[in-house]
C-alpha cells in the first residue's frame, strides 16, 4: 500500500511559538509511515473566530487559497491546530455547499490566478492518527508506555464542534481523543470542566487576556478539585499556549499566589515520548512556560528522567 501523504499545514502558533509540536509531529508521522509534505507559501489559516468574525468572504478566500495549494499537490491537508483545522475545514465545507460564497471566493482568487475546486479533504492530526494510522499501529509503536502518569485532557472545541456539521465525535461525551491519548499508556483522569473552552478562541484572548485567563483558571481549579494530574494533553497549540504560558500570565493578572504547575503537552508530543523519543529530540523544554519561569518540565512526574 502506498504511504499515506499529507500536505502539512503549520499555521502560526506551531511554527512560530511552539516549534516542538512541529518537530514532534514530524517524528511521530515518520514512525507511523505517514509522509508530511511541506506546504510552501501557506499563510495564516486565517483564524476562524477572529477573521471569520471580521469578514466572512475575506476569511473564506484566504482559507481557500491555502486549500488550493493542497489541491495543486493532490494531497489532503493535515494540521495540528484546532483553529487552523476549523478554518480550513469549515471554509472547504462551506465552499462545497454554498454556491454564492464559492462564486464570491473564486472572484477573489481569480485576482491571484487560483480557483477553489473542492477536490481534497482537510484533516486534523487526530484524524490522521486515529483513522489513517489507527490505534493498533500506534499501540504497537509504543516502546516507552507512560505507565502511572496521571493525564488530564483538554480536547478543545473546534475539532469536534459543531457536532452536527463536523460529525467527528459526540461533543458532550467524546471518546476519540481520549482513546488516542490512552494509547500512550498514561492514565486518564476525568474532571468536571474538561470540555469547557480554554478561553483563548474567538478573538477573546486578543481583546481581553484577563477574561480569557479566567476560563483557564476555572479549568485548572476544576482539575485540582478532582485530585489534580501530572500532565494536561491537548490537540491544539493555541489551547496549549493558553494552558502553558497561561499559568505564568494568571500569576501576573490574578496574583502570585495563583500558582499552577502543570506540564502541558500536545498529543504528538505525548506520542513522541511514548514512541521512545527523548524530550531533547523535539525540544519539550522550549515550551514558553519553562522559558519564562526559567525551569524545566517535571521529569520525575513524567517518568522520563529520575
Amino acid at each position: 500500500m502506498a504511504k499515506p501523504k499529507f500536505m502539512h499545514f503549520l499555521g502560526c502558533i506551531i511554527p512560530h511559538r511552539y516549534p516542538s509540536v512541529q518537530k514532534a509531529a514530524e517524528l511521530v508521522f515518520e514512525d507511523l509511515d505517514m509522509e508530511l509534505l511541506d506546504m510552501e507559501g501557506a499563510t495564516c489559516c486565517p483564524a476562524p473566530g477572529v477573521f471569520g468574525s471580521f469578514d466572512r468572504v475575506t476569511w473564506a478566500s484566504i482559507a481557500a487559497r491555502n486549500v488550493t495549494l493542497a489541491e495543486d499537490a493532490k494531497a489532503n491537508i493535515t494540521t495540528g491546530c484546532n483553529g487552523c483545522f476549523a478554518s480550513l475545514w469549515d471554509a472547504d465545507h462551506e465552499l462545497k455547499h454554498d454556491e454564492e460564497l464559492r462564486t464570491a471566493v473564486n472572484e477573489a482568487l481569480a485576482e491571484i490566478g487560483r480557483e477553489f475546486k473542492g477536490t481534497i479533504e482537510v484533516t486534523h492530526y487526530v484524524d490522521a492518527l486515529y483513522n489513517v494510522a489507527g490505534l493498533e499501529k500506534i499501540r504497537k509503536r509504543v516502546t516507552r508506555p507512560l505507565t502511572g502518569v496521571r493525564m488530564a485532557l483538554h480536547p478543545g472545541c473546534h475539532w469536534m464542534r459543531p457536532k452536527l456539521i463536523k460529525k467527528k465525535d459526540d461533543s458532550e461525551r467524546p471518546h476519540i481523543f481520549r482513546e488516542l491519548c490512552e494509547a500512550s499508556g498514561a492514565e486518564y483522569v476525568p474532571y468536571k470542566d474538561e470540555l469547557i473552552c480554554c478561553g483563548a478562541g474567538g478573538a477573546v484572548r486578543t481583546a481581553d487576556v484577563k477574561t480569557a485567563l479566567d476560563f483557564t483558571k476555572q479549568k485548572f481549579d476544576s482539575l485540582l478539585a478532582a485530585g489534580g494530574a501530572d500532565i494536561i494533553v491537548t490537540p491544539c497549540p493555541f489551547c496549549e499556549l493558553q494552558l502553558d504560558l497561561g499559568q505564568v500570565e494568571i500569576q501576573k493578572h490574578f496574583g502570585e499566589e495563583h500558582k499552577y504547575n502543570f506540564d502541558v503537552l500536545h498529543v504528538v508530543e505525548l506520542l513522541a515520548l511514548a514512541f521512545g523519543h527523548e524530550p531533547e529530540e523535539f525540544g519539550l523544554a522550549t515550551h514558553l512556560q519553562y522559558m519564562q519561569r526559567k525551569n524545566e518540565p517535571n521529569w520525575e512526574r513524567l517518568g522520563i528522567k529520575t
Binding site: P15, T43, R161
Partner: protein, 162 residues
Amino acid sequence: MIKRTGGPNIQACYQCGTCSGSCPAGARTNYLVRGIIRKALLGLKDDVISGPELWFCTTCYTCTDRCPQDVKPTDVIKAIRNVAVAEGYMLEPHQKVALKVLEAGHAVPLEKESWEKLREKVGLKPVPPNASSHPEAIEDIKKIAKKTGFDKLVAEKEKTEE
C-alpha cells in the same frame, strides 16, 4: 444577511436560554447570547453591534451543540460581528491582528530572531516554509483583501482613530 450566513433558523428561537446557560463566556462577563439573539430579532441593530460584550464569545460552539431549535447561535454571533465590523465597530487589538495578516501573512508572525533561535533549538530550520519565507504569498493576501474591500475596512478604521 444574518439569516443567510448565520443561521436560517434564528426565527425559531423560543428564548429557552439553553445557550446562555451553557455559555462559559456568559458565566463571567455581561455577554448574553439569548439577549443578543432576541435583540437581533427585534431589529435593534445599533444596540447589538455597538456593545463591546459581542466580542466575549470564544466561538466554542457549546450553545450551537445544545440549542433545541438548531438556531446555531455561534454562527449568528459571527454574522452579527461581520455587520459590526462593516459598520466600523472593530476593537483596536482586533484591527492590529487583521493588519498583521495583511502585512506578514500570519496573525502570529515569526517576527523576532529569538523565535528563529527557538526553532533551531528543537532541530528545525530557522524559518518555516510558510509565508515567513514566501513574500509572494503575502502579496496574494493583499490582492485578496483589496478585491474583497477588507483592506479599506481595516485602513479606514486606522484613520478614524488617529
